[in-house]
């Protein structure tokens, strides 16, 4: 272990542990959580690892308190996170809005399981996709990423903290049980090679004239951490640039517009995706998380049958990878969306396909990884090969 506590080297590690190591490598120093299957191993590992690097692990009384602890640490200047699954994610929704409103960067990890309610604690699902986008009340934008391997959980945990800090937003890591529990090679780089985007910090004169929510040109206010000497006031109420409540329609419009715009204007930088066999493809399979692994194999097998299928993997599920999709959409005759829910991301694809080209779904309510078979069958059906 290096002085930074980073476990540089190659490991055979599950996704949950890779998430914990990504957090250590990103400089996260507080975890507030309430362990829940299948995310428990994230908490378990950080309970051991955080004290080794001078960090704090707090097991809170529930998930509402967990995210509150994370927001407090963030306001005080620490990188902070929590990890949960469906039921806990639901409980975190109110304070997710608080993170948006107070512009407190943090990482919220959801290792998705079969839902609704208690559902299938130990088995996979991908049914919190729309909740990640719309789960808290009000208008807001954030970033959410969906990894497909333990290595990518590690990488996106680091990236998630960087994005959160740069834009002062909560970032969601929307993994699923398959990726959280599967064990694969994870390569952890040297400390110097780990990307680090610091928060834009306040450097003005403390006092009456300092306004902690005065945004810069990028619409992101320089961060004045609690305890640095600046007068800071954080509230979930609509507030002015001093952070003081202002109950007017004008201020509300101005604030909420800015909170949305600071993300929307940077949407292109937040989008992430990768593609497979798309060059001459006329059928596009869209998927994310563990399902993208099955989609890749289905596309490979379709190619062996002479069908020109390709795959687009959504790494950022929010924002939807608009640029990558638009670059491919015209050449396609049909779109297939594969996901472990009964139809969530497919609605985002449908509203972007403004032609009569068919959009079809391969869906399953959860409890098992979507295998390649049904995706291949749908590709064959769409291609007229059935």
């Amino acid at each position: 272990m290096s002085e930074t506590g980073i476990l540089t080297g190659s490991h055979f590690m599950n996704g949950d542990h890779a998430c914990a190591e990504g957090a250590i490598a990103a400089g996260c120093r507080l975890f507030g959580g309430y362990p829940i299957t299948p995310s428990t191993e994230v908490a378990e590992r950080l309970a051991r690892r955080l004290p080794q690097v001078g960090g704090v692990f707090i097991q809170m009384e529930d998930e509402m308190a967990s995210i509150a602890a994370v927001l407090g640490a963030s306001a005080a200047g620490s990188r902070a996170m929590t990890a949960t699954s469906g039921p806990g994610f639901s409980l975190m929704m109110e304070n997710l809005g608080l993170a948006i409103m107070m512009e407190l960067p943090c990482l919220i990890v959801n290792i998705q399981r079969g839902s609704p309610s208690t559902g299938l604690p130990t088995l996979p699902g991908q049914s919190d996709i729309m909740q990640a986008r719309w789960g808290s009340h009000g208008d807001y934008r954030l970033a959410a990423y969906s990894p497909w391997s333990p290595q990518e959980i590690f990488d996106l945990t680091i990236h998630g903290f960087n994005v959160a800090d740069r834009y002062r937003i909560p970032v969601l890591l929307m993994a699923d049980e398959v990726v959280g529990h599967m064990v694969e090679r994870v390569v952890i780089p040297e400390a110097a090679e780990i990307p680090f985007w610091d928060r834009k910090r306040a450097n003005g004169k403390a006092g009456e004239t300092f306004h902690p929510f005065e945004p810069g040109e990028d619409l992101v206010p320089p961060f004045a951490h609690a305890g640095e000497g600046y007068r800071v006031h954080f509230t979930g109420l609509t507030h002015d640039t001093r952070g003081y409540p202002d109950m007017s329609a004008e201020m509300h419009q101005q604030l909420v517009r800015r909170l949305v715009d600071k993300v929307e204007r940077n949407s292109a930088k937040l989008e992430m995706s990768d593609d497979y066999e798309v060059e001459d493809a006329n059928i596009l399979v869209l998927s994310y998380g563990s399902t993208a692994r099955s989609a890749r194999r289905a596309v490979r097998e379709a190619r062996e049958l002479g069908i020109k299928a390709g795959a687009l993997r959504l790494i950022s599920i929010w924002p939807f990878p608009e640029q990558a999709f638009n670059a491919l959409a015209d050449q396609m005759d049909a779109f297939i969306v594969a996901e472990v829910n009964l139809g969530q991301m497919i609605t985002e694809v449908e509203r972007r396909v403004r032609t009569s080209k068919p959009v079809s779904g391969v869906h399953h309510a959860g409890g098992a990884m979507l295998p390649p078979g049904p995706i291949l069958e749908e590709i064959k059906r769409v291609a007229g090969h059935a």
Binding site: V178, M182, R185, S290, R300, P371, P372
Partner: protein, 179 residues
């Protein structure tokens, strides 16, 4: 090349640890791609438990075992449950201390639990089986598995596990336990 391996038994027999050691040896020390998934009931001990390893020389997309090329059964229940979910020419390895093969089925076996008990602790029967697998299947390099044992297990258990591994390996070579 691609192979699917299932190690199945009861919780507490170390099926997951055996799968982890095997996957780690392939993935970190033999330059191959490997992924391990696991399946277990809510009980800490006694429930059905299995680990599944896919190994290949290229990217592994679908991570689960569909039809095993190799089945290692550490309990009668696991053998009955999985013996038909294997490839036609699958290698089926049994701990004959605990499992009796169905007549007419082609299997290999060694009394792994008895060998482990002679070494001092039945808990290493899983690693005896790994040694036996290593000696029966040429994809695994003994050095890679030994390195996985050394880098994974608690220091005071390494020697016992290396002995267990060697016993399984020797049994495969001689079809009788080395003394």
């Amino acid at each position: 090349m691609r192979a699917e391996i299932r190690i199945a038994g009861f919780g507490g027999q170390g099926t997951v640890l055996a799968g982890y050691l095997l996957g780690k040896a392939f993935s970190l020390y033999q330059g191959l791609e490997a992924v391990m998934t696991q399946s277990y009931g809510p009980e800490a001990r006694g429930g059905a438990s299995s680990s599944n390893i896919v190994v290949a020389d290229r990217e592994i997309a679908f991570p689960f075992v569909e039809r095993a090329d190799i089945l290692i059964a550490l309990s009668q229940e696991a053998y009955s449950k999985f013996k038909d979910e294997v490839q036609p020419e699958a290698l089926v390895l049994l701990d004959t201390s605990l499992v009796t093969a169905q007549s007419g089925e082609k299997t290999l076996g060694l009394p792994a639990t008895e060998i482990a008990e002679q070494l001092g602790h039945r808990i290493v029967a899983n690693v005896v089986m790994l040694g036996y697998l290593c000696g029966s299947w040429d994809w695994i390099e003994a050095e890679a598995l030994e390195k996985a044992i050394r880098t994974t297990l608690k220091a005071h258990t390494v020697e016992l596990n290396l002995k267990a591994f060697q016993q399984g390996l020797a049994y495969a070579a001689e079809k009788e336990p080395a003394t």
